[in-house]
């Protein structure tokens, strides 16, 4: 029977075992981590992939068996994604992110960061001055459920009570600190993701969100200042606020980066430019989430345990200096891998 076989059948029979082996390895690699494969298998995949590619090229040119071409196309595409997809170990990826990618992304977005910070600062100034002029503005900026009684009508004592814990209450509060930190982190992360995503609509919604957050902040501060609690409220705010507000500003900046590139792509094609900007911005967003996690801990735990205003300010200053030097400080040029 063998001599009666078609050439294309022989071609297939000779190579089928290799194809099946590649398929098998891919199934295992895609099912679980690449770790389930032995070193020998990992080395075999690129080799088998290239031989499958050459089989495909022969099959396309000569084989009249359509099912073989379809099969090889699908197999080669899967192998391609495995071979050329990023398979850096998670630990290495994370290391690279902290050592290089995140600060580089922050530096690349410095213009947007300044704009975003200016919008927030402007919002604070506007919110504050309007509330000084007429305390009714407070209700325009701050939704009732967020204000939680901290309005212009509240007494100084009631406001003070929101800044410091009642010493008799403390051990009741403590078990809930981790919950509070978690809530604050998830809530803020959500706001940050929103600020980022909205940037896509040509920056405008992100910019509005930044200005609005600033207004809200200004209105709050104005209420405390008019009740003679400015310094204490500042301490209450900055202990986590330095980290949290910076993170939100960076998130807004990341969004604006995408939006502004979409509007003014420069010399490259629009899609290409936006994709590049999007990746930088997304890296920055990864950093923002890390900062918000720290802010959640500072706010949920640090602020409740530290009740002295000057220590709160000290911690705030320390975090501020730390973020600035980490993100924008000079760092040694990485050799070799710097071109990656």
């Amino acid at each position: 029977m063998a001599e009666l076989r078609l050439k294309s059948s022989r071609f297939r029979a000779e190579r089928e075992a290799d194809w099946k082996r590649l398929e098998n390895l891919l199934n295992r690699a895609e099912g679980g981590a690449a770790r389930v494969l032995s070193d020998e298998d990992l080395i075999a995949i690129p080799v088998l992939y290239r031989s499958a590619l050459s089989s495909l090229s022969v099959a396309r040119a000569t084989s009249l068996d359509q099912s073989v071409v379809d099969y090889l196309e699908s197999l080669c595409a899967r192998a391609y994604f495995f071979v050329y997809g990023s398979r850096a170990r998670l630990i290495e990826r994370i290391g690279r992110f902290f050592a290089h990618d995140w600060p580089a992304a922050a530096k690349a977005c410095w213009r947007e960061t300044l704009a975003s910070a200016a919008l927030t600062a402007g919002g604070v100034a506007v919110g504050m001055s309007l509330c000084f002029a007429d305390s009714d503005w407070f209700r325009a900026f701050v939704p009732d459920d967020l204000a939680a009684g901290r309005g212009p009508a509240a007494s100084a004592q009631a406001l003070r009570a929101t800044l410091f814990l009642n010493p008799h209450d403390q051990h009741q509060i403590q078990p809930w600190l981790s919950t509070l930190a978690t809530f604050l982190f998830t809530h803020n992360a959500h706001v940050a993701l929103m600020a980022f995503a909205f940037g896509f609509a040509l920056c405008l919604p992100s910019a509005l969100l930044m200005a609005y957050q600033g207004c809200m902040l200004g209105a709050f501060l104005a209420v405390f200042i008019t009740h003679g609690l400015g310094v204490e409220a500042g301490g209450w705010l900055v202990i986590h606020g330095v980290t949290e507000i910076s993170a939100i500003i960076l998130a807004g900046a990341a969004g604006m980066r995408i939006g502004s590139t979409l509007a003014f792509p420069g010399e490259r094609g629009r899609l290409e430019a936006v994709a590049a900007a999007g990746r930088t911005a997304a890296t920055l967003m990864g950093g923002v989430l890390v900062m918000l996690f720290c802010a959640g801990l500072l706010e949920g735990i640090g602020r409740q345990l530290i009740q002295t205003t000057w220590i709160r300010y000290t911690i705030a200053a320390a975090t501020g200096v730390m973020w600035l030097t980490y993100l924008y400080g000079p760092r040694p040029r990485r050799n070799g891998a710097a071109h990656g």
Binding site: E30, L56, L75, C76, T182, T186, A197, F198, V274, G278
Partner: protein, 284 residues
């Protein structure tokens, strides 16, 4: 066929082969997304029940821990579900897997973590924002604002329908696209199927020259499906075309099998001499 060709894109590997990827249809992507949403909601319900059950079983002291677990779980499901699944080697969420889709970098390079983060963070704009406007209570004063908001955000939600590559806002921002990468099984070689009846068929060269590669592939398709009515119709057609003498004892299936095998052999031989016959109209 034209539809499929319109969705086909070249992906040239570093080895110089074009893998001819097919982009996912908008409907496939919508279906995948709905499956994922169903999974997320299901997981949310299960998680809530487990947390409540834990609270009941462990007493009041476990309140803070259970609340923290629930909050974190909610956050992970809402924001990280897509990101974590797309970072796996398969680059697809369960919903995409069901439909044989995967995320790939448009440039053909590796799919990086930041691209995945970027494309999924945009969902905030495409899904949750329109949803907020849609669900916001439509009182008369707010109704117009909500409606305007819905229209404006609807642009982002429906973006895949308005561009050639079916890109949504997240894909544009991250430089990705969603391709169809189904697992194909290697089907049995039709020419190897032989029940001994083939010897009864001896086709002349002229009879084999009636068709080309295109018809061969159609025939392959017919034989693989083996729908009795189609097989009979096709067999009759071919018999007429090649003047095959009527024989009440031969089965249509055997006839087509034998003809497929003979035709493929003939076309292959001619290929060896550098002649590829595209279809029946291809004369040399």
């Amino acid at each position: 066929m034209a539809e499929a060709a319109a969705r086909q894109r070249a992906l040239v590997t570093p080895e110089g082969m074009d893998l001819r990827l097919r982009l996912a249809e908008a409907s496939e992507r919508a279906a995948a997304f709905l499956i994922d949403v169903a999974i997320i909601i299901g997981a949310l319900v299960v998680m809530t029940i487990l947390c409540l059950w834990g609270l009941a079983a462990l007493g009041k002291d476990s309140g803070p821990a259970m609340a923290a677990i629930w909050l974190l779980g909610f956050f992970v499901l809402r924001n990280l579900y897509f990101i974590l699944f797309e970072m796996t080697p398969r680059a697809a969420t369960p919903g995409k897997r069901v439909l044989g889709l995967r995320v790939a970098s448009r440039s053909g390079g590796p799919l990086t973590a930041d691209a995945i983060l970027g494309r999924n963070a945009m969902r905030e704009l495409e899904v949750f924002l329109p949803l907020t406007f849609l669900l916001s209570h439509m009182e008369t004063a707010d109704a117009w604002i909500s409606l305007t908001g819905l229209l404006w955000t609807g642009v982002f939600a429906l973006m895949p329908l308005f561009n050639r590559d079916r890109l949504r806002a997240g894909d544009i921002a991250a430089g990705t696209w969603v391709v169809k990468a189904p697992k194909q099984k290697l089907l049995k070689d039709l020419a190897e199927r032989d029940n001994g009846a083939h010897a009864a068929f001896a086709f002349t060269q002229a009879q084999l020259d009636a068709y080309g590669v295109k018809e061969l592939h159609v025939l392959e398709d017919v034989l693989r499906r083996f729908d009795a009515k189609t097989v009979k119709a096709v067999a009759e057609r071919i018999r007429r075309k090649i003047d095959w003498p009527d024989n009440p004892h031969e089965s249509d299936g055997d006839f087509l099998d034998a003809y497929y095998r003979a035709l493929r052999g003939r076309l292959e031989t001619r290929l060896l001499f550098g002649k590829r016959r595209v279809d029946k109209f291809d004369r040399d």
